[in-house]
């Protein structure tokens, strides 16, 4: 469908526009930093052109009809006091037929390209062609931030979408809570992210750069602050970013602020924020982990101390944070951690996180500084400096509780389970060994814990049919790893 990319028509339309609406030119009004008229991709380009086409028709109709109205008012304005009424004309059938048909001509002119474009844009982003090798990305809406998963790449991130330029991207739109709408005005119009309904849309960037996106469907208190950024790279840069996202971060120097911050993070933040999805297993489990966190929130929205939250893996690679509304640097990050509402009104963190709501859990100033240092250190280590992360529990025979402890943190268990007695989403595991053997008759402690990991629905403490726990761990973990994990869990005091 090249009608609207024909430069002749476009130039003429723009010319007409310029003549008819001087405001456009004089004020340069349509040049905001997320204007759909500063297009950076074929989808938005087509949408802009069909708008201009319809707009020009509308302006023509507007001028004709308003002129007729104005003329008839001025021409037939009563002068003086007219004693005799005017001719009592009741109508004219021929005229009626005429002005019933005239709009139809205009409407057909609008409808034909509209229908063609609906079908074209359903097929692919460029010229209605089905793209050969589209990149598939899962975009998930959360109150109030965006999550982006690159299936098959084991990469998952938040609030900054990275795409290669000039390649069709099939964005699968999902939501874990309420309806959001995914909109990158310069690249493509919006499509809603609806829980339980898989929508998708085509996007394609025609130039490199950073483009703003924003949630366009009212989704609750902080809707206005639910934004994101799209970074369009060359294919090489994109691949480099992907590779980086799969490398371990720089290890903080022992004794540094960052090293201390790592501990603060593990103790206070890691329940909701994943920061180690550079590990393929963690990246693959992340969606289930987020859903489990969200289920924990839904169970008791007023008091939940856990909720799905942005993935912070390699946070320091991002230019902005808090759903794209604040530049990322030490000052803003510190301000954010001290009082999130100061930066993003209506955010969930200040309502749910223990450090703001449970007396005695507050972070000290030193801890905040350490945390900031740690978070800003989260960048991929240089490619050659990376030692291949040893797959724990490589099946050497004896189960290793130490490996299990690592797995507990990396697979995602720690997102929902503490090693204390407190319940996050799932129960705390303190003293699990004392009770595991007697929970289900005829099952040893080892058997019970193993079954609970592999088949969460087999037995649910307190009844019910569906456990909030993802049933995907069986597939993710190797046998040896499960042994290690069981050994670790039963070793918790």
């Amino acid at each position: 469908m090249n009608l609207f990319r024909s430069s002749l028509l476009r130039r003429r339309s723009v010319l007409l526009l310029a003549i008819l609406t001087p405001a456009l030119l004089s004020a340069c009004i349509l040049d905001s930093n997320q204007s759909p008229f500063k297009t950076a991709g074929p989808v938005a380009e087509d949408q802009k052109n069909i708008f201009i086409f319809i707009f020009v028709i509308a302006v023509v109709v507007f001028v004709i009809v308003e002129a007729a109205l104005l003329y008839s008012i001025l021409k037939f304005r009563q002068k003086g006091t007219a004693a005799r009424p005017p001719n009592q004309v009741h109508g004219n059938t021929r005229l009626e037929i005429g002005w019933s048909l005239a709009p139809i001509v205009f409407l057909v002119a609008i409808a034909v390209p509209t229908l063609i474009m609906i079908i074209d844009q359903d097929r692919g982003p460029l010229d209605g062609r089905v793209p050969d090798n589209p990149l598939v990305i899962n975009a998930v809406g959360h109150q109030w931030w965006f999550e982006f998963e690159y299936p098959g790449e084991d990469v998952i991130t938040a609030n900054e979408l990275h795409i290669p330029v000039d390649r069709a991207v099939d964005v699968r739109l999902l939501s874990d809570d309420v309806i959001h709408s995914f909109w990158i005005p310069q690249i493509a119009g919006k499509v809603d992210m609806i829980p339980g309904q898989g929508n998708s849309m085509w996007i394609q960037a025609s130039e490199t750069g950073t483009f703003l996106g924003q949630c366009a469907e009212f989704c609750g208190e902080a809707h206005a602050n639910m934004r994101f950024r799209v970074a369009a790279h060359t294919a090489e840069d994109y691949q480099a970013w992907l590779d980086g996202m799969r490398r371990a971060p720089v290890t903080p120097e022992p004794g540094s602020d960052a090293a201390a911050g790592q501990l603060v993070f593990a103790q206070n933040c890691s329940t909701c924020h994943t920061n180690n999805s550079y590990k393929p297993a963690v990246a693959r489990a992340e969606r289930d982990t987020q859903i489990a966190r969200q289920n924990g929130f839904k169970a008791d929205p007023e008091n939940a101390r856990i909720i799905s939250a942005p993935n912070l893996t390699h946070l320091a690679l991002r230019t902005h944070f808090a759903a794209g509304i604040e530049e990322l640097n030490a000052d803003t990050l510190k301000q954010w951690i001290i009082d999130p509402d100061d930066i993003k009104k209506g955010n969930r963190m200040s309502k749910q996180a223990a450090i703001y709501n449970v007396p005695g859990s507050e972070l000290s100033t030193a801890e905040v500084d350490q945390l900031v240092a740690y978070l800003l250190s989260l960048t991929p280590a240089a490619a050659d400096a990376v030692v291949e992360v040893e797959g724990p529990g490589s099946g050497s025979g004896e189960p290793s509780a130490a490996n299990g402890e690592t797995l507990f943190a990396t697979v995602g268990c720690s997102g929902c389970h503490s090693t204390g007695t407190n319940t996050l989403v799932g129960p705390g595991f303190s003293g699990l060994s004392d009770r595991a053997g007697s929970t289900v008759e005829g099952q040893s402690a080892e058997e019970y814990v193993r079954e609970s990991i592999m088949k969460p629905n087999a037995f649910i403490v307190g009844g019910g049919t569906v456990s909030a726990m993802p049933s995907t761990f069986g597939a993710q973990l190797e046998d040896g790893e499960v042994d290690d994990l069981v050994a670790y869990l039963l070793s918790i005091e």
Partner: protein, 642 residues
């Protein structure tokens, strides 16, 4: 009468009040004119409330990164602004005109069910108060006037905010439905002899179509609200995605109601304009049957376009295309109306007074709103414009520039009939021009904001967005509108004290209501008129022009009309003592307390569902008592009739 009447021994502590003065005569009134006046006054009060909400929002948005109000308060403001303006302002203002004018225009003494009419009003008032009561508990509705599930479900809408919205809307829905049944029966059954459907004034036609829309569209939202409330109260699964429920199904139901609702809001104004333009052009409405048919087909097609509110929800190309086409098709009957209005003015003797200015502005502004509607009838463009300020601009051109201008036109046009006095023309014109300029300054720049990527329903935007300057202008425009409303209020008070007295037919108008005195006596018509033609009053005043029109040829010599003063004696002179009608042997029903008790009891009952069970019990008993008393209340106190 006596042997037909129902005789009841119901213990009646509140005998039907008989007086026609004092506050209680208003509270217990069943007179359609007084109820119409109360509808109008109440709706205007809510208009001020909704307007103040809008002004606060505009102040917040005048600056980037502003923190005048919190996001929570902003969300409450835009939710209540939308809900208020639609359900508590435009609909009841239309109902005010329906109440006042339908019986007068069809030559009847009242509506078919006077007490049901009072019940509609009190239920509307109580429902409106209940809806706004949320502000007192700092939990006003905050999920948008569209209340999209599943944002309105338990986990995401804590507190009672959404309950106030759901229950308030249910109560208002009952009020609207009761009124709709009443007007429907009145129009179909109580037309003066000789007034066939095609001799009905266009305003009555539009009113009839609106009632049909109400009757058919409101049950859909009733069911949707029931389902939502059951989800919230009883944890059912209608819109719960975890159990397979589909949030989009709420949108389908909401807009299956919501789009006809748009025509419920605009058709009464179109009806008013179709009365005002002919009178102040001194010509009949051009193409009467076409205007009527266009109104009916707009209403009919209104049931088949709802998904154009949902182009971005992933309907698939087939459904999207179908709804794009049906939406574009609505432009045809809308165009027919606009062309016929211009045809009405054409060749007339146009008097540009306030009522006419508002009607002409209606046509001019509605063209803008209609055309911007066509632009986003195309789903690819709508993908960029949906949920931006472009849409806000579009529907304010049709609802503010359309409905409200039409309704204000009706206010200026029928004011002399209602009060017996003119509103000041000078202030009226100041009001008009301020409102016209303010309206365009407010809403026209919103088109650019939307095209420039500014989403709706955001409480703030960043300073580097480039939207700040335009938003400043919008805010200035909003305050100019506010100023114009102040002028109108001044006009109201000034003329109610010292207005120029208007005669029975000050505009040399065309329809039956101008054949009776101003202000209208309580019984309306001494004798029910015999109708022979469309614009019957005009035909009686100027029989020559009507005969002339039948001879078709337009350039035959015009016949001078009989002097208008000769016709004035048709109007009987009535002293205030006579106005109760007893001298004419006309019996009117006495007032009643029960519609008030039943109406407020209903809202009380709805509201009490949010509180303790014993309050619910008390409220239920109040409602039940009101209903029971109503059932067994005698027509008039029997002993007075013998």
């Amino acid at each position: 009468m006596a042997q037909e009447a129902v005789i009841s021994k119901f213990p009646n502590p509140f005998p039907r009040p008989k007086g026609y003065s004092g506050i209680w005569s208003w509270i217990t009134t069943v007179d359609h004119k007084r109820i119409g006046t109360m509808y109008g006054m109440t709706a205007f009060m809510f208009f001020l409330v909704g307007g103040i909400e809008a002004l606060i929002m505009r102040l917040q948005l005048a600056r980037a990164d502003n923190d005048l109000v919190s996001p929570e308060v902003f969300n409450q403001l835009f939710t209540m602004h939308g809900t208020t303006m639609i359900f508590l302002v435009v609909m009841p203002l239309s109902a005010a005109f329906f109440n006042w004018m339908i019986p007068l225009l069809i030559g009847a003494r009242d509506v078919a069910f006077p007490r049901l009419n009072a019940f509609s009003y009190w239920t509307f008032l109580a429902g409106g108060l209940l809806m706004n009561l949320g502000f007192a508990f700092n939990s006003a509705p905050n999920a948008g006037w569209f209340g999209y599930a599943n944002l309105t479900e338990g986990a995401y809408s804590l507190g009672n905010n959404t309950d106030f919205w759901v229950i308030g809307l249910q109560v208002l829905g009952i009020a609207s439905l009761a009124a709709a049944f009443n007007f429907l029966v009145t129009i179909i059954n109580m037309r003066a002899p000789g007034m066939s459907f095609m001799k009905m004034p266009v305003f009555v036609w539009m009113a009839l179509i609106v009632q049909i829309l109400l009757v058919l569209a409101f049950p859909v939202i009733t069911v949707a609200l029931i389902e939502l409330q059951f989800d919230r109260l009883y944890l059912t699964n209608f819109f719960n995605p975890d159990a397979g429920g589909e949030p989009v199904y709420w949108q389908h139901m909401f807009w299956l109601f919501g789009h006809p609702e748009v025509y419920i809001l605009i058709l009464p104004a179109m009806g008013i304009v179709s009365e005002v333009l002919p009178v102040f052009s001194r010509k009949p409405l051009f193409g009467y049957p076409f205007v009527v048919f266009a109104g009916a087909s707009i209403a009919f097609m209104g049931f088949f376009v709802w998904s154009h509110h949902m182009f971005t929800t992933g309907l698939g190309p087939a459904a999207t295309s179908a709804f794009a086409l049906s939406t574009m098709a609505i432009a045809v009957p809308t165009g027919i109306k606009i062309f016929n209005w211009i045809g009405t003015v054409w060749g007339g003797q146009v008097r540009l007074n306030s009522a006419m200015l508002f009607s002409l502005a209606f046509v001019a502004l509605f063209i803008v709103g209609g055309l911007s509607g066509v632009t986003h009838a195309s789903p690819p463009t709508d993908a960029q414009q949906q949920d931006t300020y472009y849409i806000v601009a579009h529907f304010h051109y049709v609802l503010f520039g359309g409905s409200l201008f039409g309704l204000f036109s009706g206010v200026y046009y029928w004011w002399p009939k209602i009060t017996g006095k003119y509103l000041s023309e000078k202030l009226g014109k100041v009001h008009f021009w301020l409102m016209f300029i303010g309206m365009n300054l407010t809403f026209f720049p919103m088109h650019w904001l939307g095209l420039d990527g500014m989403p709706r329903r955001i409480f703030t935007y960043s300073a580097d967005s480039g939207w700040e300057r335009t938003n400043e202008w919008v805010t200035v425009g909003a305050f100019i509108i506010a100023l114009s409303i102040v002028v109108f209020i001044v006009n109201f008070f000034k003329t109610s004290r010292s207005g120029e007295v208007a005669g029975a037919d000050p505009w040399d108008a065309r329809t039956l209501e101008w054949s009776i005195p101003s202000p209208v006596p309580v019984y309306n018509f001494v004798n029910i008129p015999q109708v022979e033609t469309l614009d019957d009053w005009w035909a009686k005043k100027y029989p020559e022009t009507v005969a002339h029109e039948e001879s078709h040829d337009s350039d035959t010599e015009q016949v001078a009309p009989a002097g208008a003063e000769d016709l004035q004696p048709l109007v009987p002179k009535v002293s205030p003592e006579e106005r109760l009608g007893e001298d004419h042997g006309i019996h009117l029903p006495d007032g009643s307390y029960y519609p008030l008790i039943a109406g407020f009891g209903l809202a009380f009952f709805g509201g009490s569902l949010m509180s303790a069970w014993w309050l619910t019990l008390i409220a239920g008993l109040v409602m039940f008592y009101g209903t029971l008393g109503w059932i067994f209340e005698p027509v008039n106190d029997p002993e007075d009739h013998h």
